[in-house]
Symmetry: C2
Subunit: 202 residues, 2 copies
């Protein structure tokens, strides 16, 4: 079943997404064993929480609720609701007193990361966070090679600004040079806070 946001952007329920990427990546994935990026990050955040390293959560999907049934003796059921475009990034939280804010995206492209993966509101939100001295970045995954990079939001915002005039994607070579490669592990799977610590806390 194909589900789309009002803006035409595809919506994939979390569970389905997991199974899909498991299938798609089964022949080429090794480091993260075919999990989706979202699942890897959620698992990493659970690890950080359990170890007392950081408190970082994914925000719920925003829905406009129109109709709710309340059958007697059972739970309320939402019968009509619509997806709303998120006005912020998906993840935020606290690490050593500092505010952490990021968006995670993956592409099947091999040589560049398409900017269409982000929408205007998210870029605007990142700019606002940067102005407040928040730590703000993106986690970019090249799914074919299973490589994950941390790219500071300032670079993403710069590319976003020039995209009208120039190319609508960030070359991988640029991500490799401006960003930071995150080695994949098992526990935690994507230890992005080690990189955050070395960049923003040194």
């Amino acid at each position: 079943m194909s589900i789309r946001y009002p803006n035409g952007k595809a919506y994939t329920p979390v569970n389905k997404d997991r199974h899909q990427s498991k299938k798609q990546n089964s022949s080429i994935s090794y480091g993260n064993r075919g999990m989706s990026l979202e699942e890897d990050i959620n698992s990493t955040n659970e690890y950080y929480l359990a170890k007392g390293i950081a408190v970082i959560h994914k925000k719920p999907t925003p829905l406009q609720i129109v109709k709710v049934d309340y059958p007697k003796r059972s739970a309320a059921v939402v019968r009509e609701a619509y997806f709303q475009q998120a006005s912020t990034t998906d993840y935020n939280g606290v690490f050593n007193g500092k505010y952490i804010d990021f968006e995670a995206k993956e592409t099947k492209n091999k040589t560049s990361f398409p900017l269409k993966n982000f929408h205007k509101h998210q870029i605007e939100h990142m700019r606002q966070v940067l102005l407040q001295d928040g730590i703000c970045f993106t986690l970019l995954r090249f799914s074919v090679t299973d490589e994950v990079f941390l790219l500071d939001a300032t670079h993403l915002c710069s590319y976003w600004e020039v995209q009208e005039k120039a190319r609508k994607s960030i070359p991988k070579t640029e991500i490799e040079s401006l960003g930071h490669h995150i080695p994949l592990g098992l526990y935690p799977r994507i230890d992005y806070l080690s990189i955050v610590k070395s960049i923003y806390f040194s």
Copy 2:
């Protein structure tokens, strides 16, 4: 229509809530003109965002989506979803680089604030945020007198701990002495960050 969470806690859609409190408070409210606490805070956060003072948002209500219809040529419609208990507080964001996290609650009680307004997961989340040196508090509103107080999460957590043995609410006199009264205004309506600045940034 009465809507309840799976745990039996009532759910009130935002718009209905606004109208309800408008009616309920019309005879006694003055400072905030009968708006609900949530509306006042959202409006305050919009003010902070517009003025570049802080980036603080309310998290969407968490829903477990079970069934989605995708009618051709129109937006996806969620046809079956269930309310999930939030695992965090409702509001978080960044102010001068620091992580801000809070929960806002109101009571019709005049002399104490019932602890049943909070649930265990939220208290647990507040403890985790405090351990990460995040700024964490509650905004408590006594709706009859239209008074709003900021109470640091450490105090709430302490009261929560002893509630099994002792009273299940915080006396208003204690909130007045441990907390900070927030004068109500028009723009912004509840200027809690002025208080935050004086407490946590001095």
